[in-house]
């Protein structure tokens, strides 16, 4: 069995403090995997480690059975929206063309085919008619779709999305999750950093609970459980027993 991401005993420290401690997991391909945990749980660090942007103090990371350096162009990143300067003088189309950069030599300019690929990706996310707009003229949900189009233009098989639903209205959220399912059904693997517990069961095929160490990783019904969530969130949750269905309802304080 080959995995999308295979991590063994990964530990990462920042300024002498552990951000991640002894993480091991094997993630299958073609799934939407949610990474959940409180602030400072190391969600971003884990993502950055898999993308080869943070050096591991211990452990090994393999992506599609290879070291990260060999598969960089196969990994796409969709940034958290508040990390982007939306006043930047750039058109929607040019943002998506950036997805082609990993396929170009350092001196090469994007070709006509690269541009066509970008437009095709915009069409796939339903944003083609916005391609000549400046990126800041779009709504939050539309901006998110543009960055997803950029990942599509990259033709990456592994996608990392950092809080893609933060600050986005419900309609857009539904459009985006449908889009992400389409992408999964095309054979791609998606990791999504998510902070909200409410939609977890609806959105993810597999769940990772993180709080510096790996609290749980696996099928939803095995991991999305009150005791594990409470453990990941350091007990900062209330559990309410639903008498009719005997299901645990979890509310994060």
């Amino acid at each position: 069995m080959s995995y999308s991401v295979d991590i063994n005993h990964l530990s990462v420290a920042y300024h002498g403090e552990w951000a991640l401690k002894d993480i091991s997991f094997q993630a299958p391909k073609q799934e939407i995997i949610g990474i959940i945990g409180p602030n400072g749980a190391g969600k971003s660090t884990l993502m950055k480690a898999i993308m080869g942007m943070v050096t591991a103090n211990q452990g090994t990371i393999r992506v599609f059975d290879q070291p990260v350096e060999n598969v960089r162009s196969d990994i796409a990143y969709v940034p958290q929206r508040n990390m982007i300067d939306f006043d930047f003088p750039i058109l929607v189309e040019d943002v998506v063309v950036m997805g082609r950069y990993p396929h170009l030599k350092w001196w090469q300019r994007p070709s006509k085919q690269d541009r066509e690929k970008a437009i095709e990706s915009l069409r796939q996310v339903g944003m083609e008619s916005f391609r000549k707009r400046q990126i800041g003229e779009l709504s939050g949900g539309q901006q998110q779709r543009v960055f997803i189009a950029r990942a599509l233009a990259q033709e990456a098989d592994l996608l990392f999305l950092d809080e893609p639903f933060a600050g986005i209205d419900l309609t857009s959220e539904q459009i985006i999750i449908d889009l992400l399912r389409d992408i999964r059904d095309q054979g791609k693997t998606l990791f999504i950093v998510h902070h909200d517990l409410s939609k977890v069961e609806e959105y993810f095929d597999r769940l990772m609970l993180l709080n510096q160490r790996l609290v749980g990783f696996g099928q939803l019904q095995d991991v999305f459980r009150a005791n594990l969530i409470s453990e990941a969130y350091n007990g900062q949750v209330a559990t309410i027993k639903d008498s009719d269905h005997s299901d645990d309802v979890v509310v994060v304080k």
Binding site: Y77, P79, I90, M98, R109
Partner: protein, 292 residues
């Protein structure tokens, strides 16, 4: 006005120093305009100010050792950039404070050195505010060389500069050396300061970096257009600056900066998309429309 222009043109035709001043000004307008766009978009305006000031001790030491200004300026410029990064990464002192500390510290060292050597050949006024009458043939070639090299670099690495400025995380994920690009830009800032030394001087060079670029930023949504517009405003400011300084016998660098500032203010008030005046009219029209 026509008379003044004729007076200026005949001056240009007759005096080599004026020709040199004009060419140097145009080159500085181009190179500062282009580099300035990236400085603005990366939020490094203050950094530009720091590097240009930090060049002073390098220039003086180079003079004392009989070396080229060029080498001294680049060494202290880049050392300052490294120092700022080191302080903000290894303490809780914020970036802008680290910049302020090293900017003034380096500048003070330069001033002390100048007063200590008490030379009449190194005129602090000229280093600080430029001395465009003294632009030699050698200076001109150096400025030309720096301009060509910097523009070639930006054209060659446009893609990497764009992605690392717009989305640094993606840039790192796809293997673009973002730290290296940062320090190359600091190196370029030192070069540009040296290139501008005679024309605008250390104190005002930051205006030639930031002002034309900001004007262009108000007028376009595309980086390639912003680069061209910014260089154009830089050149216009340079030519008009040399013109007014010749006409009224005032400091050239300061005249260039004033022209650049006036162009910026025009764009700020009247630009079709973001101009204050245009926005006011639009809001009023909308208000009247809503009132029926």
């Amino acid at each position: 006005m026509m008379e003044n222009i004729q007076f200026f043109l005949s001056g240009v035709a007759n005096y080599p120093f004026l020709q040199n001043a004009l060419i140097a000004g145009i080159l500085v307008g181009i190179v500062c305009g282009v580099v300035g766009c990236f400085i603005i978009l990366r939020g490094m305006a203050l950094m530009g100010d720091a590097i240009s000031h930090a060049v002073l001790p390098g220039v003086v030491i180079a003079y004392m050792l009989g070396m080229s200004f060029f080498i001294g300026a680049v060494i202290t410029g880049v050392l300052t950039a490294l120092g700022i990064g080191y302080i903000s990464q290894n303490s809780k002192v914020k970036d802008d404070s680290a910049i302020g500390i090293l900017l003034s510290g380096m500048f003070a060292i330069g001033v002390i050195l100048i007063t200590a050597i008490g030379s009449i050949e190194v005129d602090i006024w000229h280093i600080l505010f430029g001395n465009v009458l003294a632009v030699s043939q050698t200076d001109l070639w150096m400025t030309f060389g720096i301009t060509v090299a910097v523009i070639a670099f930006i054209l060659l690495f446009y893609k990497q500069l764009l992605v690392s400025t717009f989305d640094p995380t993606m840039a790192r994920a796809i293997g673009v050396p973002t730290k290296l690009i940062h320090y190359v830009l600091m190196f370029i800032l030192s070069l540009v300061t040296v290139a501008s030394l005679n024309t605008v001087g250390i104190i005002l060079v930051v205006a030639m970096l930031i002002t034309p670029g900001s004007t262009a930023y108000l007028l376009t949504d595309r980086l390639p257009v912003m680069l061209v517009l910014s260089a154009t405003f830089g050149v216009v400011s340079a030519i008009a600056g040399v013109f007014y300084s010749y006409l009224y016998d005032v400091a050239t660098g300061a005249s260039m900066v004033i022209v650049a500032t006036v162009i910026f203010l025009l764009a700020f008030f009247f630009s079709p998309k973001q101009g204050l005046v245009v926005r006011w009219f639009r809001d009023r029209a909308a208000q009247q429309a809503s009132q029926g």
